[in-house]
Every structure is written in C-alpha cells, then in structure tokens.
Assembly symmetry: D2
Homo-oligomer: 335 residues x 4
C-alpha cells in the first residue's frame, strides 16, 4: 500500500518534505500541494509531477489524499489542525504547533476529540546518532541518568523579521533541545533556569530576543540537563547531545563532511562540519517520514505526539519567564 500525502505549505521546509515524499520514501507518494503563494505551489507541483490544490480543505478532503502534512507558517498550524481533524486522516505537523499554549491546546483538543493520529515534526529524534544515544539510555546501558548536555548552534542567524514572529529563541530554536532533553533523558522537564545575551545580532535586543543562551533543566527523575544555543557558530551546525549516568556516558558528536585527514608541519586537519540542517539532517527527515508512513498505515502509534509538542512549548515559555524574572521557573507555573 502506498500512502498518498498532501503537503500544506511549500516554503523551505515544506518543499523539502515534498521532495522527500516524492522521491525518497518507500511506500509514500506526493499526492499534491497547496500554498498561499500559488506560484510556489505551482512550481513544486510541476517539479514533482503532482496536483496543485487551490485551498487547504480541497487538499484535505481529496479522495486522492491519504494523509496530511502541515508545513505552513506557525501561526496557521492550529487552524489547519482543527480543519484537518474533520477528515479522519493521519496528520503530520511541523514544530512548534503554535507560539500560544491556549491555541496549542485548542488544536490538540480537536485532534484528540476526533482521534486523529498526529505526529509532530521533531526530526532530530530520528537522527541515527541522537537516536542511538536515546536507545543506550532507554536500554539501561548508562544506568541512572545524572547529567545531560546539549549544544545546539546554528551557523548564521535568521533575519530579524523572522525572529520577530518566531516566538524568540527559546520557542523557535531551543524548542528542539527541550524535546531532545525529554527524549534522551526519558523524563519530563520540571523546571527551567535560563539566561542569555545578545552577542551576535544587536538588533535582536530591540525586539527583546536573545542569540546566545544557556539553560539548566531539572527532570522529574532527578537528572539535570544543560543546554546552550548560539545563533552563529562560524564553523557550522553544531549539534551535540550527551548523557552521563551511573554506568557510563553516551553522546552524539558532530559528524564531519568527509573523512579526510591531513597532516603537515602545522598539525592535523580534519574536514568541515555540516553547514546547516540540510547538510546534517536529511537522514533524520527520511526516517521521520518512514515513521509517519508506518503511523498512517496504522502499524504503529505516533512516537512524537501532540503532548510532546506541547511540553516543549511549555519549557520554552518557562525559559522566557525565567530570563525575564531572573529565577528558576517550574514548568507547572506555565498554563
């Protein structure tokens, strides 16, 4: 059986998903696309030889669409979820579900009430290296978890215009790390202490955002996770996760672009790191879609749920509260 997927929104990430679905995913087919920008949708439809839908509900309701992928801008996710919940079709939704917790809850309620299978796009969970870290924790290889460390740095900052509507660094960027912390440690975040600064893009200060942050998370199981983010690592896309426990340590180091080694009188030189997520995480997106196909085929329940999307948003909001109030904030304070 092939699952025909309709993709809503073909901006940068949506087009990437459309391409993967069209070409790289066994058991999947790109049924069609929709985008408010009709020209963009037209181009993608032509490129991958699929239908262009004229509005989201036409796509959602089409008998040629088995499953729905929501890749539109964040502020439209909840409306899309509510609409999608009417069609009894499995739904994939990009992160974050919303910048608002009440809106998130509205969307999740519609999904839940309709028993719609929903999977949230935390792609890093599907990266083979990070997944291997989680597996080693989950199978007991490292014993009780004491300390986790997550470093996640982008190669270059996004435009300030984007930052303005992104929910700020904790909701836009750190959200991946909150999810990663919950994923690898295997325990909920109960409190957040966050700090940060503007070191890279001065204009961020004017809109109350940060570009360099550090966080300390307490988990329900007693583990502590330390996270740091920067919007600008000139050496590339720095993505490391490490978990330390009573029996040892497991971590995912940065892969390099090639396995070339040079030696001369100056020392030893290795290759560059991946520059950004397209250089690093394509295998994770492919694994994500393979998982979604299994979900849409009814074989498994979604591994990344609406509750996961919500929990990371809560942590992000707690981080902002922590920075603003200069104190540790419990996630139970956010609602």
């Amino acid at each position: 059986m092939t699952i025909a997927i309709g993709v809503l929104g073909v901006g940068r990430i949506g087009e990437m998903h459309a391409e993967l679905i069209a070409q790289r995913i066994e058991g999947a087919r790109l049924a069609g696309v929709f985008d408010l920008n009709g020209e963009a949708a037209k181009g993608v439809a032509a490129k991958f030889n699929c239908r262009q839908f004229s509005d989201p509900e036409e796509l959602m309701s089409s008998s040629d669409v088995d499953a729905i992928a929501i890749c539109t801008s964040t502020d439209t996710h909840v409306d899309m979820l509510v609409k999608a919940s009417k069609f009894e079709k499995p739904v994939f939704c990009e992160k974050p579900i919303s910048l608002s917790l009440s809106e998130t809850d509205r969307g999740l309620k519609a999904i839940s009430d309709s028993k719609t299978p929903l999977m949230i796009g935390f792609n890093r969970r599907f990266d083979p290296s990070h997944r291997s870290v989680r597996d080693s924790v989950a199978d007991g290889s490292i014993g009780d978890v004491h300390i986790a460390r997550i470093t996640s740095r982008d190669p270059a900052p996004p435009p300030v215009e984007y930052a303005k509507v992104s929910g700020g660094i904790f909701v836009d960027m750190t959200i991946h790390d909150f999810d990663m912390a919950r994923y690898v440690v295997g325990s909920e975040i109960v409190s957040v202490y966050a700090t940060g600064a503007v070191r890279v893009v001065p204009a961020l200060a004017e809109i109350g955002d940060l570009d360099t942050v550090a966080l300390m998370l307490q988990h329900a199981n007693g583990a502590i996770t330390m996270v740091d983010n920067s919007r600008q690592a000139v050496y590339g896309y720095d993505q490391r996760v490490e978990v330390f426990g009573s029996k040892g340590l497991v971590g995912s180091d940065n892969p390099l672009m090639t396995s070339t080694v040079s030696r001369n009188a100056q020392g030893t030189q290795l290759a560059k790191m991946p520059y950004f997520f397209l250089d690093r995480y394509i295998p994770s997106y492919i694994a994500e879609w393979n998982e979604f196909i299994a979900v849409a085929s009814g074989k498994i329940a979604p591994a990344v749920t609406g509750a996961d999307g919500r929990a990371s948003l809560v942590a992000g909001l707690a981080a902002w509260k922590s920075v603003r109030e200069g104190r540790l904030v419990k996630t139970s304070e956010i609602n």
Copy 2:
C-alpha cells in the same frame, strides 16, 4: 535541459543506477530500461514509471533517449559499446570494460572512431573523501608523492560462481584500487608486484583465484603505492586511501555509520563502519551521475575515460602475471 538516460541491464548495480537517475539526479530523467530478464526490466520500469525497451538497440536508437548507460554483465560490455557507438549519444559504461584487453581495445576503438563521449564507472573517484585526497595532491599541498597506501576490503566474499566469471580478484576487485592509485597519485602505473593467498574461501583455490592480496605498484613519477585487499573484513567495508609526500600526508579514513560515542569502564566505543558499498558510496554514485550529466550536456569532457578503464585492466592482468611468475611485471609487458 534534462538528459534522458536509458539504462541497459538492471541487475543489482543497474537498478541502483536507474533509481538514482529517476530520483536523485538534477537534470536527469530515466527514459527507460532494458534487461535480458524481461521480468526484472518490467519491475524496474513500473517502479520508476519509465519505458521498458525490448532490445538494446531499440533503447539506444530511441528518440526519447539522450544518453546510454551500460550496466549489463561484463562479458556484454564491448558489444554494447560497439552498438552504442553508432548512435552519437554519450555513453556511461560500468567497470571493467572487459576481462580481455583485445576486446577492450575493440570496444574503445569503436567509441574512439565515432567520437562518442564515454565515461567509465569508477565511482570511487567521486567519493568526497577520496576526491579530497586527490585534490590535495593535485594542488601541490603534499608536495612530491613518495608513498601511497590503499586498503580496500569487502565485508563478505561473493559466490564462487561469480568469482569464476569475474576475472579473479585483481580484475574484479583490485581494479578499483589500480584506478584509485592512478587517480590520487596522478601518475601511470609502470610495474606491479603482487602476492596473495586463499585465507577465507578455500574453494577459490580450486579455480585459481585469491581472496587476500597485497601489491606494490611503481608509478612513472617515482611514487610507490601499496595496496591490500581482502574479500572478508568482518567489521565492514574498509576503504582507505592515503598519500604521503614531501610536504605532508593526506588520507581518507573510514567514515562511521553514526557519530555516537560511548564510554564505560571497559573503554570507549564508536559506531560501526558502513557494511558495504550501498552504505558507503551512494554519494559517490550521485556525484558520478552529476558528472555524467555535465558530460552528456557537452559542458565537460569525461573525467574517467576509456583509457582509464584500459589502464586498470592492464594493471590487473599484470598482477595476475606477477603472482603466477613470482616476479615484478612491467605494465608494458601486457598487450
């Protein structure tokens, strides 16, 4: 402009090429396929939504085919080259061109006489790590080349039935290393000293083949290349190239499947190596096809020529002669 490629032969390697052309190569299109095994061709044609041709010349002559990929069994390559040379279309041919030098010359003459652009499928040249080694040599970074080392080991031996018709290890397996030696050192092989043993598959002894070999190659520029091969490395597909010169060293080490690191009281554990060529060399095949598209578009001359294919076969035949006669053999002795 999109180049429409017809693929002759859809066995393991041909089907892989068909899939890459159909899905992964910008500017390429899979026009159709042919295989003596009609069922196999039918399946591939259906899977990638392309035409199934009923004989090679129908494919070669089709107005819907811009370029021809020869992926049939080695013993048919020369006939295919001769046929293809009539159609003024760019040709890709898998290695080795033939097990016979005179046959190779017959095929290459037809290609040459017809001025058909021909590219031979030495995919490892397109591996980013190996390529980076070659580039560092070519740009003078390591100075004059003194010593190269190539290790190339398969994870498991092929069936003895395959070995029987393969030309033996030096023509079937080491041929990649002869090409790699010429590629990274940037100089012709002038002599071969080879030795070997049967250590893995006793039945190979009966057919005069080897599974564990070591070679010493002299290049025209004075460099020495040491090569070793094994048909069975239980830890995976070991593929290393290293060049040492007057200004330093550059090498391509084995990549690992993930960047996971574990530490416990026993030591430090890293991930597995790629198991075989599909795990390691897909990026090289994609780069190979990108190169061929540029060739077929008339933008560049083929970087891997018929002469390259011939030179590696000569080295392979020299290696067999060296083993049989227990002495160093000059490549000029082979003709």
Copy 3:
C-alpha cells in the same frame, strides 16, 4: 643555578611533588621534607635522599632551602603562609588556600606585606591541552568569547570523612573549574547559579554535601560558562574544557591511555581514559614546577597568584549560597 625546595606535608599530593622535584624538574633539587607524621616524612626523605626537618620553621629558615612548598592539610595553609612570609623565600601553596575567606585574606595579607612571591597550585592551568585552549582564546583566534563549557568528573568519590572537612564539592572540586573558567575565558566571574544533587553517595546528604552539580557562571566580559561535576564517572577522569566565540571554537578533549583502535562486527573500540589525576596530569605538575622554578629564580612573576586562589574560593562560596538560597548569587555578595 639550582633551586632547593623544601616540602611541607608529604601526604599523597606532597609526596608526588617531592618525587617530581627530586627527579623530574630541571634546575630544582629536593632540599628536604617535613610532615606531622614523622614516619611518612622519614620514608620520603630516605626514598629521595633528602633531609627530614623536625618542624616547619626549621625547614623554612634553613639556609639549604631556597623555596617553600606548602602541601600540608588545607586547614594549616594560612598559618604556614604567615610563617613563610617571614623568610623572604618564594612560596608554592596547594589549593585551596583556605576554606574561609577571612583566613585566606589573613594569609594573603602576610604574603603581600612581605612581598613574598607566591604561586598557587592550580595545576590544570599547566596541562598542555587546557593551556592551548587558553592560548587560542588569548591570542584572539576564537574572537569574543560567548560560551564556555567545562566538564570535570572524578572516577570515584572520596571518603565521607574527607568530604566533611573539604568545604564541600564546590570548594574542594569545582574550585579547579572556577579557576579554569577564569583562566580560559580571561575574565572574572561576576555571578554563579548552582544546583546539584546527591546521586552517588547517599551519606553526603547527611552532611549537606552534593556529588552531582551543575553551574552557570557569568563573566565580566559577558561570557557564560557552564560547569558540571560528578564525583563518580565509572569510565575515568573526565576533564574537558571548551570555549566558543565569534570566530570559532577550541576545546581540550579527553586523551586516551593508548592510541589503539579495534574494529570488529560490534563496532569500533578505543582505549580507556586516564583513571585519575596521576594518570592524566603528571605533565601539568611538571610544567607547574618548571614555572615555579622560573618564579623562584626571579625570572617571571607568578602566573597563578593569591588573588587567583581567592577568586575561586569566592566563586565556591557563592555556589554554596546559590544552592542554599535557590537563586543566582553575585560574587560581590561574598565577603
């Protein structure tokens, strides 16, 4: 010129220093030793063929002693410093100077008033890898410092009896990391946020100590340092420092005991890490003594001063206050 050094206190660390001075330090000589435990002193004196002094002042005042090394228990350091300040001889003192800030100040005043050259034993500054990190920051190679990360974990916890008189983990263990943070970042610590837990040795809870801690330090130059410590890393002595800035990253990774690599069907295995400081830091102690010899010879001023010792104690006391009050504590609050 050879500097004759008298060593006060030949417990574990004092004996190690005595041995290094006697055997490994160019330009140094072990003049003699003193220890309250006369048998211990006698053994060391016999082993390294030096004099055994009967009390500290006899050693300090001896015309055969050019410089004084204070390696006695922490609670005696200040009295030793005050005594030593009378003899116009260069002094080396182990860290921490004292568990009490007022006592520290009393000792440092005597040293300062007498213009005694004093060097504090923060050996990690002399580790070639950590030093190289500092050098890359200091020479501008990584630009402005944004984030530093320090992981420092012991292989096994000390006896609870020791912990009781140690000042607790922040003063006994993290003190090295406070110094390292100041050293590599090149800027004072202005605030400390600390948290921690008892995960390894339950008995520590009864004495109000911790064995697993995480800290966030703010520096005067805007950098943030994240530190984590554990009293028990079963895989060995984990000692990593990393600095991230506007132009790149530099870090000191853990060395391994050998450069052996194994590969089999299970993956790739590397060697063990150093088990504890004697396996990792001997080269740092040797470099430390070389530095002290240069200080004692009047060639250079001490690179690790009393003020450095004081600053790390202040940070340690701030960390305890942070944990007790559950808030960020400015180092200016400690006095």
Copy 4:
C-alpha cells in the same frame, strides 16, 4: 632489592638510558658510566651523581655493578657482548647487535655459552599501544592473521656520515619494523620483497642507500606484512602498526601531542604529532627498563632475545639482497 646498572656508551641514546635508570625506574640504580669520550662520561656521571669508569671491563667487573647496558656504537657491540659474557651479569644491548651476521653469531655464542641473560633494546615492543596490538593478536581477538601494515617514518634524515656506517636504511631503520612484524604477527618472516628510492637526500644515492622504502614480508603462518619507511615525514614521527585477521582488526594509531580540538570556518584542527622518538617513546623505554629489571632480578626470562636481534638483522640483509637483485628473497638464503 635494587639493581645497579652500569651504562657503556653515553651518546644520545646511552645518556637517555642513564637518565631513565637514575630517575625513573623503580628498583634500579645508575651505578656508573663509561664512554670513550671521557668528557661526555664525566658530564653524565656528574649530572646523575654516579661513578665514571675508565674502561668497559672495569665497569663490567665492578662489584658495584649488577647489570650491564651496552649503548656504545654498533660496531663495538659484539666485542662488548663477548667481554660481558665473562662476568655472569645480565646484559642489555641496544639494537642492532651488529651489521654483520657472523659477528652477531660470534657475540650471541659467547652470551649463550656463558648462559648470560641478554635482552635486546627493541623498545617499540614496550610501547603501550603497539603492545596492546600484539596482545589482541596473541589472545585470539582478531582470529587468524591475514595482513599486517606497518608505517614507520622519521621526521628528518640523519647525517649522511651516519648513514654510511649504519648498515643502510633496512638495517638501521626498518630493523625496528621487522621486529615489530614478528612481534605483532607472532610468526617468523620467511621472505622479503623490498623496493625503494632516494627521494629526500640525493647524497644517499652515492653511498647506495635509500630514504623511501616499501616492503612485503611473508610470515611462516601465511600472514603478509606490508611495511613502508621514509626518512622524512615533515609532520613528525609517524609510527603505526595494524593487524587484520579473520575476526577483525587492531591497530595503534599515532598519538597527538595534546587533545586540543579547534573548529573554524576552514575546518577542524587537531594537535601535532610527536616530533621524534623522545616525544613518543619515553614510556616504552621506561617499560623496557622495568622489564630488564625483572630479568636482572631473575624473575622472568628476557622477552626480547638475541635470537630476536638476529632475526631482524637477517630480514634487513634479505631486504638489501631483494633490492639489489630485484626479486623476492627467502630469509633462509641469508647466512
């Protein structure tokens, strides 16, 4: 019990041994030294506070000397061995025993007839990384040995004057690798195929020596060892050993001088390699002396025997014969 060692010859290597014996070897004492160059001997005796002997036999016969270390120039080793064989004292002798096989045999006969315990100074056997390779082979971890690879390159060539009396590269430099091959593979060398060139020091051509060589060794157990040497690796002292077998691979990679890692827009930089043997092999010399002390104490038999010294010389002579005659040479041809 402390073993008092007298050192004959305090050139570069002899002085290093004297220093290690005086300062770093538990259970050893430097009894005294002798050197034809009396000033050199005087300096060393003063530095390490030991006796200067006026001739070799005075040292050998002294009741204050328990064991004899022969570190004089190679051409005197055999005479020293013959003399030493009269004193019933354990003997350490640097490699090679002699450049002449008959002379070697004369020396070894005296040693053997007198039942003198003799240990030859193949220090690399005691390097923890190489030793770990050997151990993994010896304990069966990698199964049957199929292929070994040894790379051994010096950072800079010795003076031509030295080369003239050294026996040439195969006897002076490769001799370590012949011993290493026998050590890690655990089987005798039965044949040698060698080739080489002058690429670094043109003057070597005039004296019939080489500076860049490659060798293929056949072992009695069917394993093949590939060796390459260069007199000049600008990046440092390249010392790698690797053994591949039916169950996997084990190798000793080059250690680096520090564990520092830098990342910037150009890529990843690691530290330099050790520059030469004093930077790399001090731990091996210490382990070597610890072993000799155990031998001299009668606790163990020598692990590196006269027969080991002889076998490597035979291989070196076979290599020269192979180069001169352009053919594979059996070690049984050398006598």
